[in-house]
């Protein structure tokens, strides 16, 4: 009799734990933000995930599709450069990003990952002639809204 009354309670607690754990799992620790529709490359879509790592740095991961080659832009450029606006409003060059298609699919795909000690409030991409540009070009190809 004792066992019978104990089992449903245990089951209920287990279910609550399970649901909480699953919610936490799917929520994850990362903040995901989509890029806004680009007027320069309208077919480009992508998202940025920002989370903190074990070293307390911000990990910035980006995945994109449909980003045309920089050389096909008007005017033609050499590379796409990823920039971030930090919470102190400074602009940092995070690195270049290349768009490539694979053997199995013609879809242009690009991915990028880096870390920064500075908290990003916005990520954007410009087309540049040099990957190590100190300041972004005035024409922004893609941008997120403020986090």
């Amino acid at each position: 009799m004792k066992l019978l009354s104990y089992t449903p309670t245990f089951k209920n607690i287990s279910s609550v734990f399970l649901i909480t754990a699953m919610m936490l799992l799917f929520n994850s620790c990362a903040r995901k933000t989509n890029f806004q529709t680009s007027s320069v490359v309208p077919a480009a879509r992508g998202s940025v995930k920002v989370k903190k790592d074990d070293n307390n740095n911000y990990v910035i991961k980006m995945k994109m599709t449909g980003l045309a080659e920089a050389k096909r832009l008007e005017p033609a450029k050499q590379v796409y450069v990823v920039w971030m606006e930090a919470d102190d409003h400074s602009i940092k060059n995070l690195g270049q990003i290349n768009s490539n298609s694979s053997l199995l699919s013609k879809t242009l795909k690009a991915s990028f990952e880096t870390v920064s000690p500075f908290k990003p409030i916005k990520i954007f991409i410009t087309a540049e002639d040099k990957a190590d540009a100190a300041y972004p070009d005035t024409q922004v190809v893609l941008s997120t809204s403020n986090f």
Partner: protein, 170 residues
């Protein structure tokens, strides 16, 4: 005979309930460990690499017994990936950092500039060796030297004077 049947039924019920209990515990433990692991940093997720340069750090006058390795690679986007593995960060620094201090990784680029790459701290994972520290960051600039300083603010723009670990020039 009737009594025996009732006892057998009860036994079956007990066994079934016990099994159910263990099953729930297993599912709960599995999902909780999955959740806790989901925040862990994934290292070496930079895809293809082209060239790799490995530099054994020299014994410095600051910490001669220090041991660490820096690897410079190129990722799929042609950025430079800097990977650092230190055997004992506390031993490297020589002092136990207070709550306010942070170890910052810097790189000298070939354009005579110094750039902050991020913080490094000892591993904290359940199954990782807590005496070790690992770090990975990417930069569009080619690094010529990597070093670590102890700072009071993790977001400083220029390195302080307390260099706790450094490589020679690549």
């Amino acid at each position: 005979m009737k009594l025996l049947n009732t006892k057998t039924k009860k036994m079956k019920k007990v066994n079934f309930n016990t099994m159910k209990k263990y099953f729930f515990i297993a599912v709960m433990a599995g999902s909780m460990s999955f959740v806790l692991n989901s925040c862990a940093k994934k290292t070496a997720a930079v895809g293809k690499t082209e060239t790799a340069t490995m530099t054994e750090t020299p014994g410095t006058s600051v910490m001669p017994e220090n041991k660490g390795v820096v690897q410079i690679k190129r990722d799929v986007n042609s950025n430079y990936v800097v990977q650092i593995n230190l055997i004992d960060l506390k031993e490297v620094s020589g002092v136990k950092p207070d709550a306010k201090s942070a170890y910052i990784v810097w790189m000298d680029a070939d354009m005579q500039m110094t750039k902050s790459l991020g913080q490094i701290s000892s591993n904290t994972g359940w199954f990782s060796d807590k005496s070790q520290a690992s770090f990975e960051a990417s930069s569009v600039f080619k690094p010529t030297k990597v070093f670590i300083t102890e700072e009071t603010d993790a977001t400083v723009q220029k390195p302080g004077l307390k260099v706790i670990w450094a490589t020679s020039k690549f």
